[in-house]
Amino acid sequence: MSLDILQMVLVTIVAAATPLMIAALGEVVVERAGVLNLGVEGMMVLGAATGFAVAVETGSTLVGAAAGAGAGLALSALFGLLTVVLSANQVASGLAMTILGLGLSGLVGASYVGLKRAPAPHLDLPGLTDLPGIGRLVFGQDGFVYFAFALAAGGWWFLWRTRTGLILRAIGDDHTATHALGLQVRTVRFRAVLFGGACAGLAGAYLSLSYTPFWAPAMTAGRGWIALALVVFASWRPLRVLAGALLFGGATVLQLNAQAAGIGLPGQLLSALPYLATILALVLLSLGRRQGGSLAPASLGRVFTPHR
């Protein structure tokens, strides 16, 4: 295989991994703060619809991406209101957000079905982008991809190198103790939820603005759920999310290529592979962790009501 073909494969893997990366990195922050947001899929699909609609109306990919993130953020604000402020059950509330997001995305995107627009512009540095073998991979991606990698590095730096990150992790570990110290459990959690929602929305916008530059109903196809699984798989660590997303992206590309090549397996089986792979990954992970105990934030999913 020539270097250029290898590069092409890697470029497609990175492209498939990017939405998972962005959504999962947002969710890492949310779960590190102790909140389980099962609405990622809904926030993602709403971000995809809104991002595409706004990009078509304004003609600007950047504004579209911002709108996608904003839509995810708005939906996550409702989620935060329910779970963080009103102490509603996080699992049920997250499911409600997914259903609501799917419905709303249909409404928002209704008049944009079938439209196409140019994909998000890719970086083009004369000389560098044309470098054989690595030029397109390193210097020829679109803004989302660079943002995703920056987000992983930023997430790591935030969680392990800043005081706010320390407070966030502490709150996710023990909300009762941190509340007793006077740390603002609900404020921090609400902001984390908003951040996660914006990331999910942005991940959706990437799908409709760059990955496949059109809007189709329910186009996220469970990527929000796979991102949630990725968070578990990555043991709530941003840099491992990066690795995990690339692994999943690789599986997706493999499946797409196999389907295109027509290798005699039913297409449905190949389509089912990412979901089966997710289950397999979760199983292998827990097999490897039998003795170690759980690495999940200790307060994850628990309801917190301060008594004052």
Binding site: T178, L181, G182, G293, R308
Partner: protein
């Protein structure tokens, strides 16, 4: 309305901190009802009171965790608003929590950094931790995760975290409740030193001997009001207790202690791995309890009590059937229901969420532990009427208050719920009863009631095993006492033939002195001679 202006002081210099006319209501409940309190620099001021007297509410108000409904707090004579703990810390108020406010999965340094100013972090912070630790003899490795530390070490984190802010007032909430007597001594040294440095300390406790040893002034709360201030050194433990409770506390009849029966509960080499990251492994625990006797297991919390209880109840199964024998039956591999059918009863430490489901009614909570042994289900169908009458019988026999219309368990006070759970098991007339912390957080009257019920049960031939952190309690009811430390159990020795000092050393993991100290030494030990009958 309470006056907003502090009343004229009667004597002495301006107090460092004052609280005047403090009222705090939670819905219909008035937790603090017009409390006045003055704390001076260079004193250790005791705040005494039973559970529910309003101590923790007042303490939370002083630390900015709660805002009073009425009343004011003053600092050097000026009215201040403590809107949140940050504001309190800025005024120089520090707090050492009873249930440590530490995050288990963070390191020592990280836990301390949580409340430090932004600038103080990394290497500078670690250097400061080492410096303060050196000054006061509180040594800690800043990079250890909290879950790997003992209770005493955890308290050191709390204290260092407090001292790093150079506080004028340190509030300590039941600081010795998780310490061995030896560790407590070390703590007292630190506290006295802090006092001598001119700091004020508010010492919250219900351990009267400690208060008498350490404090020059005490404010006593009952039912949300101040019922007296005194110099505890001039009082006896008994007179202080009477002020706290508002009535003479009945003594339990001392155990007659004639353990004539055969061994009914036998543990032989019970060994279990630690459950999860933060648990304690049990290492070759052996013990035998005969019918008619109460055996006490002393120990600091977190030394395997919960694990041992679960192994006894069958919530955790042993690896071999013969490790646990109930009335001769190899029970190690039997579940809790089978052990109950064999005539055993269990009362765990945690009332809300282990012994009872707080959101279920009392009669449903009767079904919880008695569904197999009191005919409460037939062919898989519940017999609710039978459960209701069982609950009623327990409520009547154990004087459970506030249980009129079959309320949910969570609405009962700690003492009343504990009486209900004790009664639920005792009315079954178990052949073997295992109780973990029978009177933890229970008011004195209910505690006396519960202890008497345990003694009466043993009189009727039951083998009773009591785990308790409260040595006073064990000396009052147990015929023999063993000590659980880090998952290993010392041999049970007759209570009459041992001393608090011996047990204290075992609780701390040291070998006890070979020859028990004479009785005169006992009277002089810092934790006092409450049991010089």
């Amino acid at each position: 309305m309470t006056p907003v202006v502090p009343p004229a002081r009667t004597e002495g210099p301006t107090p460092l901190f004052g609280a005047y006319g403090i009222v705090k209501r939670f819905g219909d409940v008035t937790a603090n009802d017009g409390i006045d309190l003055e704390i001076r620099a260079g004193e250790i001021h005791a705040l005494l009171g039973e559970n529910g007297a309003g101590k923790s509410t007042l303490m939370k108000i002083l630390y900015g965790l709660l805002e009073p409904t009425e009343g004011v707090v003053t600092h050097r004579g000026d009215i201040v608003r403590l809107a949140n703990p940050e504001a309190a810390r800025a005024l120089g108020i520090g707090m050492v929590f009873q249930h440590f406010s530490l995050c288990e999965n963070l390191t020592v340094a990280e836990n301390i950094a949580l409340v430090m100013p932004r600038a103080l972090r990394g290497r500078t912070l670690k250097a400061r931790i080492a410096a303060v630790g050196g000054t006061y003899g509180l040594h800690l490795d800043p990079d250890r995760p909290v879950w790997s530390l003992s209770a005493g070490e955890r308290q050191r984190i709390e204290i260092i975290r407090c001292l790093l802010q150079d506080p004028h007032l340190v509030i300590l909430d039941e600081p010795t409740s998780v310490l061995t007597p030896g560790e407590a001594d070390l703590l007292f040294g630190v506290l006295e030193r802090l006092r001598d440095e001119g700091r004020a300390l508010l010492y919250i406790s219900h351990r009267l001997d400690e208060v008498r040893r350490l404090c020059a002034r005490a404010t006593i709360l009952r039912g949300g009001r101040v019922v007296g201030t005194c110099d505890p050194r001039a009082e006896t433990a008994r007179s202080l207790a009477a002020m706290m409770v508002g009535a003479q506390v009945g003594e339990v009849k001392p155990p007659t202690g004639q353990a004539a029966g055969p061994a009914r509960l036998v543990l032989s080499g019970l060994t279990l791995p630690a459950p999860g990251l933060h648990g304690t492994a049990l290492d070759r625990v052996s013990l035998s309890v005969r019918g008619g006797e109460i055996v006490g297991i002393a120990g600091i919390a977190g030394n395997g009590q919960a694990e041992l209880f679960d192994a006894l109840s069958g919530e955790t199964l042993a690896s071999e059937p013969e490790m646990v024998r109930f009335d001769g039956v190899m029970s190690g591999r039997l579940g809790i229901t089978a052990r109950r059918r064999g005539g055993a009863g269990f009362v765990p430490e945690d009332r809300n969420g282990h012994g009872a489901a707080p959101t279920l009614s009392l009669s449903d909570n009767a079904i919880l532990s008695r569904h197999a042994t009191a005919g409460l289900s037939r062919f898989g169908f519940l017999r609710r009427a039978v459960a209701k009458s069982l609950a009623r019988a327990v409520i009547d026999a154990f004087d459970v208050r506030g249980a009129g219309s079959d309320p949910t368990a969570g609405t009962l006070s700690g003492g009343n719920l504990q009486k209900y759970l004790m009664g639920r098991e005792i009315l079954a007339e178990p052949g073997i009863l295992v109780v973990n912390q029978p009177t933890w957080g229970v008011d004195a009257l209910a505690a006396a009631h519960i202890r008497q019920a345990l003694l009466d049960l043993a009189e009727r031939g039951t083998a009773v095993l009591v785990m308790s952190q409260d040595l006073d309690e064990l000396f009052a009811i147990a015929g023999r006492i063993a000590v659980l430390h880090d998952g290993t159990l010392s041999p049970a020795v007759p209570a009459a033939g041992t001393t608090r000092e011996t047990l204290g050393l075992l609780m701390g993991g040291s070998e006890p002195a070979r020859i028990p100290p004479p009785a005169s030494v006992l009277a002089d030990t810092p934790w006092g001679p409450t049991h010089a009958h």
